[in-house]
Amino acid sequence: MSEITKQSLTELVENIKNKKLSSSEVTKAFIERSEKSKVLNTFITEDFTSALDKAKKFDQKPNLDLKLPGIPMAVKDLFCTKNVKTTAGSKILNNFVPTYESTVTENIWSEGAILLGKLNCDEFAMGSSNETSFFGNVQNPIDKNLVPGGSSGGSASAVAGQLTPITIGTDTGGSIRQPASFTGTVGLKPTYGSCSRYGIVAFASSLDQAGPMAQNVKDCALLQEVISSFDAKDSTSIDFKRSHYSKDLTNNIKGKKIGIPKEYRVDGMPKEIEDLWQKGIEYVRDCGAEIINISLPHTSYALPTYYIVAPAEASSNLARYDGVKYGYRANGENLIDMYEKTRSEGFGSEVQRRIMIGTYVLSSGYYDAYYLKAQKVRRLIKNDFDEAYKKVDAILTPSTPSSAFKIGEKTNDPVSMYLNDIFTVPVNLAGLPGISIPAGHDAKGYPLGLQIIGKAFDEQNILNIAFAMEEKINFKNKITDWWIK
């Protein structure tokens, strides 16, 4: 048997079910490795003692029929966990201990998994490098001083660094897929309405979606099966027939029509990304799929649309942080002064910037020119996908326009940071599922990802395509454990 922390979720589940491993052994192994990995700064809150207790309890009376029997896992610190501090990477929630559990994490615990702790992320999930977190940068296990991507940077790092077998992140504009791509891991952003938003700290409610992150496609499928559910507590949760994503997983994609959108060939895209894309096209063709060139004409308008819609919704969602009901409070001379100081001291600069953009585009006299305009363009972007899906079953693109960059490289130029999400943002605007899988390395040996975008509610199909490609690609992450002395 290979080292515990190197095993995939599927292997761990099998070994626990066959009683070759106990939950305590597995939990201890991940905790020990996490203790040696503090320099990565992946955890905001560790819950190790309680995890070991829960594992012990599980082993005393193991229920091996569950999907995640005694499997320890850490989750992004954007999911409310009952009695465990939930910060969203922000000073303003630094002392917030939820009295309730998010639906997605509730689903995970009821299948037998055990919480290891809460993972670092960009503040309120606003960022593409995990550098906006109040709790500091996260290191990418791939190389020193490299960002892990964001906003689910701690989650991606923890999976790549083998501090957790699987995890969940959230994706508003690419926050699962971009860090998955930067760390050589698999990340799925499900269809809007597939996973409940109840108990997830809100960023942009018409775009936010929780999703699984894992070492491989099969693990990702299994976790998606667990977290996706209809939930009356989320008014946009959708009641549709959910597949048994892991059981129904197949590498047979013969005859599937895969679209290649010409607009994703953007100016200044490095040749290695283009080459990777071509290689991906060859792989799906080898699997018997048919390649069809398509056009998504409004692609270049997706980012500007996103940077109106997302901040607008954020400015409204984040109005709740007023220093009265929960979270940080600054002293003020009067009520208004208290609000203004609380929000000025409690929010970091990127969050403040986005609240201000959102407030401006919603303000009197500007609403039609910006917010309404963006909602109209959002319709055009969605129409592009609807048209394309008359001809194809899925779409193949690069996940990001570059590999991971150095910490500090893009922090002074918000627009260049935003450009990271150029290939992922359209998927959120159209509410579609998208998965990023590791597909190769650049010249520096950093991982690069490919994205498969599906029709709404067609997670099974993109998981199958990803599964078939994964076999062909045979990707090996180059992790040297440089941070362990």
Binding site: S206, D337, R353, M356, T359, G431
Partner: protein
């Protein structure tokens, strides 16, 4: 169009986020570069396009009007920065 210092101060007031002079000046630059980038949308004619307000274009489901969580007053107040018995405490509003 361009955003000036006066506009930043106005937005700061609407957002209830106090910003000092130095930060306000930095925000002028940041927001202008972001809005330059956003202006690209003006290339598109959208007079006859229906705005997309939600991806899940369904009507909200109704449920019976029954209490789901009872006696959670303590939980609600638990995380407040300052409270007094069953009340949130804020700076004096009326003199």
């Amino acid at each position: 169009m361009s955003i000036d210092l006066k506009t930043i101060k106005h937005i700061s007031k609407l957002s209830r986020i106090s910003v000092d002079e130095q930060r306000a000046k930095k925000l002028v630059g940041d927001l202008n570069s972001i809005f330059d980038f956003i202006e690209k949308l003006n290339e598109l004619k959208t007079e006859n396009v229906k705005p997309l307000t939600s991806i899940a274009e369904t009507t909200l489901k109704l449920r019976s009007d029954e209490i789901q969580s009872k006696n959670i007053r303590e939980q609600i107040i638990k995380n407040s920065p300052q409270d007094n018995e069953d009340y949130f405490v804020v700076p004096k509003v009326i003199e």
